[in-house]
């Protein structure tokens, strides 16, 4: 039995698998499949300062080896999360990460302040949501904007701060460097790639928001490439995600440079995927005589 625990920005995770924001709600539903302590952590559904109803349906469509979604950050607001969901989450014996999104930098700061006063374990700055009209990804696509928002939120945030990066940029390594320079404790990547499909019979986009975020196995090679590039550019830990579906994918993402992992889309076809991936990881480590999963991080040997 190898050691699967990892440490990200001073926070201990029992294993490297974290449920990705937006695929897992606030944990209650998947907690009806298995104890949430099976996961290293949970990144909660993105929360905003005030309640949001999200986009009209359809919000999802299947694509080859993936899905497009545009939920539009439906959530009850940060205060309801703190009062009704966080106390329950904190009893589940897993790391709780609050994912926050705002319309303005001030909103991000206000939420960071409110959450810093709670016992949430970490805060993940969502500056990469492609599915909302204002805010979201606009804060995450230039180095100056990323540096500005990270620095400002940092001043209001006493929790370890993760900046979640958008892949919809030309040079993700320089964006990651900006986040690091402005005080991010870690980066998580990648959020979804903006995509679109059209129903050729109705000539309508297949989701109501016209465009959506592409996730699932289809984006995995892009995610591996980006994690590898960022790992070569920063010294803060990387939480790797984007289409991880099997334990082999998990090993690959760790080798690319990730310290921990988030998984999302695969849960929709297999709710037990995190349990199976952890089992596979453990087997791989044992078979290769590796004591700790941390020994895999960044061990790719590039040509």
């Amino acid at each position: 039995m190898a050691d699967l625990s990892v440490n990200v920005a001073g926070v201990h995770f029992n294993n490297p698998l974290i449920a990705a924001s937006g695929t897992f709600g606030f944990g209650r539903e998947y907690g009806e499949f298995y104890p949430l302590s099976a996961l290293g952590g949970i990144s909660c559904k993105g929360i905003t300062l005030h309640r949001r109803d999200g986009n009209p349906p359809p919000r999802i469509a299947e694509t080859p080896s993936g899905i497009l979604n545009a939920v539009g950050l439906q959530n009850p607001g940060v205060d309801v999360f703190i009062q009704e969901d966080l106390p329950w989450l904190k009893q589940q014996n897993t790391v709780v990460i609050a994912n926050i999104a705002g319309n303005t930098v001030e909103e991000y700061c206000q939420m960071a302040e409110k959450l810093s006063a709670t016992d949430v374990d970490m805060i993940e700055l969502n500056i990469s949501c492609p599915n909302v009209k204002s805010g979201g990804v606009q804060f995450g696509t230039s180095c100056a904007a990323v540096e500005d928002i990270t620095a400002q939120v940092r001043r209001h945030c006493t929790k370890p701060l993760i900046v979640k990066l958008s892949p919809n940029v030309t040079d993700i390594a320089s964006i990651a460097k900006s986040a690091e320079a402005a005080g991010a404790d870690a980066v998580s990547m990648i959020n979804t790639l903006t995509g679109m499909r059209i129903d050729i019979r109705t000539r309508r986009p297949v989701i109501r928001n016209n465009t959506g975020g592409l996730s699932g196995a289809a984006v995995f090679p892009v995610a591996v490439r980006m994690v590898w590039q960022v790992a070569n550019a920063v010294s803060i830990p990387i939480i790797g995600m984007g289409g991880i579906s099997t334990w082999e994918d998990a090993v690959e993402m760790l080798m690319a440079g990730a310290t921990a992992l988030q998984i999302g889309t695969v849960l929709f076809s297999d709710p037990y995927a995190p349990v199976k991936i952890n089992e596979g990881l453990n087997r791989f480590l044992d078979e290769n005589g590796i004591q700790s999963v941390t020994e895999l991080t960044g061990t790719v040997q590039p040509w």
Partner: protein, 249 residues
């Protein structure tokens, strides 16, 4: 634990009308009995999303899923062979609430007909109205006849009466206490309007493209009015069955 993924032996999987298949799986009712109107989330090898299919029947040790081949996923389902197993997440969702003291009118339109069979089994002498586009799509008539009084209509008159289920509902609504319906949204909207006019309670089963199936990913949104306020709920968890009066069409 409330949810479990089951590997159910596939007993048969036959085409019963044009493009419509009847999948029968070996299924023992256990501590999580299937309620009428609930659905099964079926894993399709090679696909990123499961396919939500309403439960047509769950009696006699058999889980019956009657589905229409609409795209790649249901096509793969239709090619599954008896002898293997199917990976199913069941039972899911909030089904129809049936009160044994009431007489129900159960209405199904097209591929919305299957869940009305298991619902009919829970009702005392229901009036069952089914509607289809044409004769080639008519399904489950013999099964339904065994559960109550049935009325059939088609858009083109090729089977049963020519017309819509709402015409038959208007003619017979005085005979029932409550209406339960499943089918295309315009049909459900029209049924809800008739029930409102005659002041009869009405439950409708909605459809929306779905992700997780358990209420975590929030994609299958439906707008409902609760206590005067419009809020977003989800077909997979709060539904698929909703009180028609609360749905904001």
């Amino acid at each position: 634990m409330k949810y479990d993924v089951r590997q159910l032996p596939l007993l048969s999987n036959k085409e019963i009308a044009q493009g419509i298949y009847d999948m029968r799986l070996e299924y023992k009712q256990d501590d999580l009995p299937v309620q009428c109107g609930q659905f099964a989330h079926v894993y399709v090898p090679g696909k990123s999303l499961r396919r939500p299919i309403s439960v047509c029947d769950a009696s006699g040790g058999v889980l019956r899923l009657v589905y229409q081949v609409k795209g790649e996923g249901t096509k793969i389902m239709s090619q599954m062979q008896p002898g293997g197993t199917v990976d199913v997440l069941v039972p899911l969702g909030h089904g129809f609430s049936v009160d044994s003291t009431k007489r129900y009118c159960l209405i199904g339109g097209g591929i919305g007909v299957p869940p009305m069979l298991y619902t009919a089994r829970q009702c005392e002498n229901p009036l069952i109205i089914t509607g289809f586009r044409s004769e080639s799509l008519v399904i489950l008539q013999d099964d339904l006849k065994a559960c109550g009084e049935t009325l059939l209509c088609t858009d083109d008159g090729s089977a049963g009466e020519k017309g819509f289920v709402t015409d038959l509902l208007r003619a017979h609504i005085a005979e029932v206490d409550e209406v339960c319906a499943c089918g295309p949204t315009p049909m459900l909207k029209a049924i809800a309007a008739v029930c409102k006019e005659f002041n009869k309670p009405c439950q409708i089963s909605l459809e929306e493209r779905m992700g997780c199936g358990v209420g975590a990913c929030l994609v299958c949104a439906v707008k409902v009015r609760k206590n005067g306020e419009e809020i977003m709920q989800h077909v997979c968890k709060n539904g698929p069955v909703f009180n028609a009066e609360e749905v904001v069409f």
